[in-house]
């Protein structure tokens, strides 16, 4: 699977070829999305070994069930759904770890309380190296609860629609929206600690 003469070919054409048994076409689909699927798996599982398993299982399952892919969604959305299911399964298996809870959390409204309000400097991310920035962004995501994390990763990093995210996670659209808002606000708060303009501290609020 080392040929990349298929790099410019349309995704749906590759899927048709792969479904007809063309392993090179399937290899090209893997190459297009393996980086994103691995990142998604790492974000959701927060564990590199699990993420590697999820990556393999995702493409194995996709290959196995390719004939069930009807083409009414994008191929990428379809494999994301497989990857999320595999990743959430890993989390559930690790449920003895008390920090992992996929159950509905009780809505007290407390996690939408905004504690820190400070304007950020201009392009604060430009002040940091790629590695430093990556470290800050990853650890902020890591601190979110698994379901908030999954919603944020699918909506704002993988750029799925609200409906696609709801379908992938087995949640209602309103549940996706409320979790997304909380995830965004919590991340905003965490990043504010790094990016706020110097000398510009919190106002009293709410």
């Amino acid at each position: 699977m080392a040929v990349s003469s298929l790099a410019g070919i349309d995704e749906s054409a590759l899927v048709v070829q792969a479904r007809d048994g063309d392993t090179i076409a399937f290899g090209e689909l893997v190459r297009r999305y393996e980086g994103k699927i691995f990142r998604l798996a790492q974000h959701v599982t927060q564990n590199r070994e699990d993420a590697e398993d999820v990556l393999q299982e995702t493409f194995m399952k996709a290959y196995e069930h390719l004939d069930q892919f009807k083409g009414d969604s994008k191929f990428y959305t379809w494999i994301v759904r497989i990857a999320v299911n595999q990743a959430l399964m890993k989390l559930r298996r690790r449920k003895t770890d008390k920090s992992v809870s996929l159950d509905e959390t009780i809505d007290t409204g407390e996690d939408t309380v905004v504690r820190e309000i400070a304007a950020w400097g201009e392009d604060p991310e430009q002040q940091l190296s790629r590695e430093e920035l990556g470290g800050i962004l990853d650890s902020a995501i890591q601190s979110l609860e698994p379901l908030y994390r999954s919603v944020f990763v699918l909506r704002d990093i993988e750029e799925l629609s609200t409906e696609e995210t709801a379908e992938a996670l087995g949640l209602s659209v309103p549940a996706v929206k409320s979790r997304l808002l909380r995830a965004r606000l919590q991340l905003r708060e965490k990043l504010t600690r790094f990016f706020k303009r110097k000398g510009d501290d919190a106002f009293a609020y709410m």
Partner: protein, 88 residues
């Protein structure tokens, strides 16, 4: 009049531009008068932009090679000889 709490509850849809013109006008008039909500909206928008701009790291070579090996094995098992025509 919108309260800050009303503003926050619409913040995601506002940033995603998923609201009608009437509500948008109300939210925008709120943030011209409320510096706190303006800052929250601005920094939340920047938060989303920063994450969206994040490119995935290249997949580590050892992970990639294990993935390809596993897939090749699976494909070889599934392939019938008549199907193994390679098109490039």
């Amino acid at each position: 009049m919108l309260t800050c709490k009303d503003f926050l509850s619409e913040l995601s849809d506002y940033l995603d531009e998923k609201i009608d013109a009437e509500l948008r006008a109300k939210l925008e008039s709120h943030i011209t008068e409320c510096p706190n909500c303006w800052v929250i909206a601005d920094t939340t928008r920047k938060t989303i932009q920063i994450y969206k701009g994040m490119e995935p790291y290249p997949i580590p070579p050892d992970v990639e090679s294990r993935l390809m090996k596993a897939l090749e094995k699976k494909m070889a098992a599934k392939q019938k000889p008549a199907d193994s025509v390679r098109r490039t």
